[in-house]
Amino acid sequence: MDLNFIINHLNVFIAAAWLTLKLSFFGIVFSIIIGLFCILMSYFRIKFIEQICKIYIELSRNTPLLIQLFFLYYALPKFDIHLEQIPPLNLICLSVDETLRPAFACAIFGLSFLGGSYMAESFRSGFEAIRKQQFEAGLSLGFTKLGNFRYVILPQILAISISSISANIIFLIKETSVVSIIALPDLVTAMKDLNSLTYKTDELLFLLFMGYLCIILPISLILFFVEKRLSNA
């Protein structure tokens, strides 16, 4: 172990970890939104969109993220579809360097595409576990249909499926390791690039390992305590 080497290259890895964190944050937020949307559609029984959601869930759950990213990154621009110019993504992309924006937008889109279906499935398992009377009880108290969802149904869904939601969150953070293929400077890219330059494999593997450990361990601990709180509630 060459400690000097580790200290000298720590800043590269911290920047890379920051990118991983940013990616996972947006990926998780968007996938929760997509999951909620899918479950809302089946709550309101909008048949047509519900069917589209189902097709989307099957497509995204049964294909690897790597291929999804390749497809988004290399194939879509040929049709003049640039994800980094599409509204919510263009604002988020302002936070990274200009050359990275297309890849960054693709990565967030891909992560949300993959994560959304996983979240939707988690929400669905909670949704299906709720008893029928709950739906009627809220309405009879004078809630609107949306209010009923917000105040009666959603808290129960969250309490039931919190463990699978937190598993999905960890899964998505781990899945960000794939973005190195579309040239985003994440932890894996940093390790690979420096390895081909310096051949300090041991130190770099150590940094890679520690990088992910520093990101995932605290988050999984936080989720563990949240889970405990919610399951007691």
């Binding site: 759950r61 294909t63 999804q68 390749f70 040929k78 190195s180 894996v188």
Partner: protein, 218 residues
């Protein structure tokens, strides 16, 4: 547009798919073997075995698979002096990861069997081995099958990671074909779309079947 998908390309993609399938099938076989043994071991009421298994499971789980692949692929050759090909390292990593994930599934399905099943087996005069073999495992198997199929599709999808350590599997072959046809603007769309579709065709029937089993057995 579809002229790109001629026989030559398809046969090359098949070769790539073969490697992908090879990695997944070998790891699935090893996974089901060790997963079952470890899971049964873990469900015994021995605290030390449980803590050890749990610790390794969390340890394996917390890192992205890609990091484990790097550690095995780059690290093993340095520390142990064995040069593993990328395909072999992928098989090793997926088998270890799969075995421990499977172990947890086996454990939870064994523990979900109500206690009175064990007791009634005992009262019938079966010894511990017979009770497991004739009563507990067949019941646990029903709960296990759908969830383990889920793991199976995850493993098949994860084989794409092998591309990142340089294995010439489906994704890599697709990329070579695209580079070869770089004059064709639509090549990425067709080839990546096609690979997307291949994975979907492999994984979707498994998902459907597991859902069907879940409905039938629950």
């Amino acid at each position: 547009m579809l002229s790109l998908l001629n026989l030559d390309t398809l046969s090359r993609l098949w070769q790539g798919l073969f490697i992908t399938l090879e990695i997944s099938i070998i790891s699935i076989i090893i996974t089901s073997f060790f997963g079952l043994i470890l899971g049964i071991l873990m469900s015994f009421k021995n605290r030390y075995i449980y803590i050890l298994c749990r610790f390794i499971l969390e340890f394996v789980r917390i890192m992205p698979l890609l990091v484990w692949l790097f550690i095995v692929y780059f690290g093993f050759s340095r520390w142990l002096g064995v040069n593993l090909s990328s395909t072999v390292s992928a098989i090793i990593v997926f088998s270890i990861w799969g075995s421990f994930e499977m172990m947890d599934l086996v454990r939870s399905s064994l523990q979900s069997i109500p206690k009175h099943q064990y007791e009634s087996a005992k009262s019938l005069g079966l010894n511990k081995f017979q009770a497991y073999f004739y009563i507990i495992i067949p019941q646990a198997f029903r709960r296990l099958t759908p969830v383990s199929m889920n793991l199976l599709t995850r493993m098949i999808k994860s084989t794409t990671f092998a591309y990142l350590i340089g294995s010439v599997e489906l994704v890599k072959v697709g990329q070579q074909i695209i580079e070869f046809n770089n004059k064709n603007d639509l090549a990425p769309f067709i080839i990546y779309g096609f690979i997307f579709f291949i994975f979907f065709i492999i994984c979707y029937p498994i998902t459907l079947y597991s859902r069907k089993l879940e409905k039938k057995w629950s």
